[in-house]
Amino acid sequence: MTLQVATANRLSDGIVVFLGYDGEWSRHVDDARIAERDDDIAELLSEAEAAPLVVGPYLIKVEVCSPEGLGRSVRPETYKERIRAYGPSIHPAFAKKMVPEHFDPSTDVSAVFMNGI
């Protein structure tokens, strides 16, 4: 079973975005629309590719964690995509504002990455 979401960079500022359930692109991976069945995955990709105002859309694999009482949180499978989703690991200040729930924004992001979140 693979769960996939569609990602791209926004044309206007290059920021990493994810295609959401409402058809809008969001900066936050947690908002991403998750496709599981092959035809849903194909549809997700073709929708992403047809979207204007984003650059280079593609699919990535994710896992979904639901820490107790914290709602859904989406975690890209590869470390590269995690860095894309959460922001550079070296300047905590530049990490995405709404980081995944199991990810304390006040932590030194690089330390968290080193422990393999």
């Binding site: 650059v55 550079p88 070296i90």
Partner: protein, 556 residues
């Protein structure tokens, strides 16, 4: 430094207007990304991991204080308050918005700066010696030639779509600071037996996937033929360089596959025609450019300064800074000050807008208003009076720019790596930071002595890992960040390519591995022997044994 005339200015401002119109066509949807990409790349605009990245050219690494202030202003207004100096003496902004880039380029053009040819398969920014003009040993000022090559290569109609990017370096000093042997063309200024000025011309050096040291294609090229000779080399390369495989497209592969002697024959044959075709400049133009690089009026100063000597005893940190960061100047009473952009735990080459402004002010106050950028991702204030050195250092230190570590283990070269770069396999900066923290103690750093430690996040080698005494290369192993260690590289006049030792280390192991290498060196070095000399004497064996144990003989 070189000052634009009306022609230079109109070329750059025409280019800004052209790009503004092109960005407009992209934002309106008239241009697709496929059509727009080559255009934005030709203007230095990449799309990186998190955002666009704008690379601005700093021709041969030379900046005036107003230019530095403008870069600070751009960082603050259009970016997130910081920027990154690269290993090619350029500067990168990590978060510009596409729609702002024409404005950024317009701002830059007001101080005679641009982003032309900072990307794409064309002739890139020319590298020159950061000590040019102030080094006592220098034969001639490499900036003069770098500027002439800059002009000749700008928007060159024939060489804008080469098989691959093309990098040229010029050095005028017997001690090479430009990594001249790792450039597609390396130009070493020299005199012939009759005392005429010219160049030794090297071709086919480079790092990347297949690192190679440049070979001599011509022992002596009289100075007046520089451009025709470059044109001959570029034309041979443009026609014969491989275009079927991007990893085999650099001129080093052509040199390797054709052989230097056969290539030399082709170049010389081509040159025998080109030199008659009016490409070379009249002496008047060379003189005009040279007149921009004449010596400033230096004060007549004594060789020594009492307070300078005393302060080194009184303030040991300053003493360290003098030892590591200052270099001799050709004029008595002056020194060259290297400003380290490698504070312990910082991101190598990163500077904040406030730091850029501080450096600009200090350059005005203490160094004739000029700043140079070194390919080691540091800055240079080239004309500092010995008597001012202490005040300068104090003020640098206030803005975290006074680290006394030039040429020491914490003066790490690191590319942006996976924290920014879309091509990366692994992160570079966090590894550099952890290494700096591990070796933070300055007495230990001085004990280890002269050492270059270079980190690249992938095989493209922007962090020059093969050219470091110790090199670290990020690789991806089954979805994990791993790091390959290389030993014995060197970027100076005795250039060598680092050799891979053993299998790669995990993110958790790499810092310990470097420490093992260092401890091994300390235990086997002869008196006063630098790391690279020990390595060259003993070879990799003692290091391999220390890293992997006696019996281990694992292929890399």
């Amino acid at each position: 430094m070189y000052v634009y005339d009306k022609f230079d200015n109109s070329l750059v401002s025409d280019r800004v207007e052209q790009f503004r119109e092109q960005v407009g066509r992209r934002l309106s949807g008239e241009l697709t990304e496929d059509e727009f990409k080559p255009i934005r790349l030709m203007n230095g605009l990449y799309l990186q991991l998190h955002a666009y990245m704008l690379r601005v050219a700093i021709p041969y690494g030379l900046l005036s204080s107003p230019q530095m202030r403008k870069l600070a202003e751009v960082a603050r207004t259009y970016d997130r308050g910081y920027a990154h100096f690269t290993t090619r003496q350029n500067i990168q902004f990590n978060w510009p918005r596409l729609e702002d880039t024409p404005d950024i380029l317009e701002e830059l053009s007001s101080v005679e700066m641009h982003a032309i040819q900072t990307s794409g398969n064309c002739i890139r920014n020319i590298t020159a010696d950061q000590f040019a003009g102030v080094d006592a040993e220098e034969l001639d000022d490499s900036r003069v030639w770098a500027e002439l090559i800059r002009q000749w290569s700008s928007l060159h109609p024939e060489f804008t779509f080469l098989p691959r990017k093309f990098k040229i370096a010029v050095t005028g000093s017997p001690h090479d600071r430009t990594a001249v042997k790792f450039h597609d063309i390396g130009l070493i200024l020299k005199h012939d037996e009759d005392g005429n000025l010219g160049f030794e011309v090297l071709v086919g050096g480079g790092l990347g996937r297949t690192p190679m040291i440049g070979r001599t294609v011509r022992e002596f090229l009289p100075q007046q033929y520089l451009l025709s000779y470059l044109e001959a080399i570029l034309r041979v390369y443009n026609q014969l360089g491989r275009r079927d495989n991007k990893y085999k497209a650099r001129i080093k592969i052509l040199v390797h596959e054709t052989g230097i002697d056969a290539l030399r024959e082709m170049v010389e044959e081509e040159w025998s025609h080109v030199k008659e075709e009016g490409v070379d400049l009249p002496f008047a133009e060379v003189d005009r450019v040279r007149s921009h690089f004449t010596d400033p009026t230096y004060d007549v100063l004594p060789d020594h300064d009492h307070s300078f000597a005393v302060k080194q005893f009184e303030d040991p940190m300053f003493g360290r800074w003098v030892r590591a960061n200052l270099a001799p100047h050709k004029m008595p009473g002056y020194v060259i000050a290297n400003v380290s952009l490698k504070p312990i735990g910082g991101a190598p080459g990163d500077v904040t807008a406030a730091q850029m402004e501080a450096v600009a002010d200090l350059a005005d106050k203490y160094s004739l208003g000029e700043i140079r950028v070194a390919h080691e991702q540091n800055l240079v204030l080239a004309d500092v009076k010995m008597s001012d050195a202490y005040s300068l250092w104090k003020k640098l230190d206030e803005v975290q720019l006074g680290t006394p570590n030039l040429g020491l283990i914490s003066d790490i070269i690191a590319c942006p790596g996976l924290d920014y770069c879309a091509l990366a396999n692994a992160r570079s900066i966090p590894v550099a930071q952890r290494l700096q923290r591990r070796f933070a103690d300055f007495s230990r750093q001085f004990d280890i002595g002269e050492l270059t430690l270079n980190i690249s996040g992938c095989i493209n080698a922007c962090g020059h890992h093969h050219a470091g005494h110790i090199g670290i290369l990020g690789v991806d192993r089954r979805g994990e960040e791993y790091y390959q260690l290389t030993l014995g590289g060197s970027a100076d006049e005795n250039a060598s390519i680092g050799k891979i030792v053993g299998p790669a280390f995990s993110n958790a192991e790499i810092v310990d591995a470097v420490e093992t290498v260092i401890d091994t060196y300390l235990s086997i070095r002869a008196n006063g022997e630098a790391f690279i000399d020990t390595y060259r004497r003993t070879g990799e064996e003692p290091f391999k044994i220390a890293l992997f144990g006696e019996k281990q003989n694992v292929a890399a």
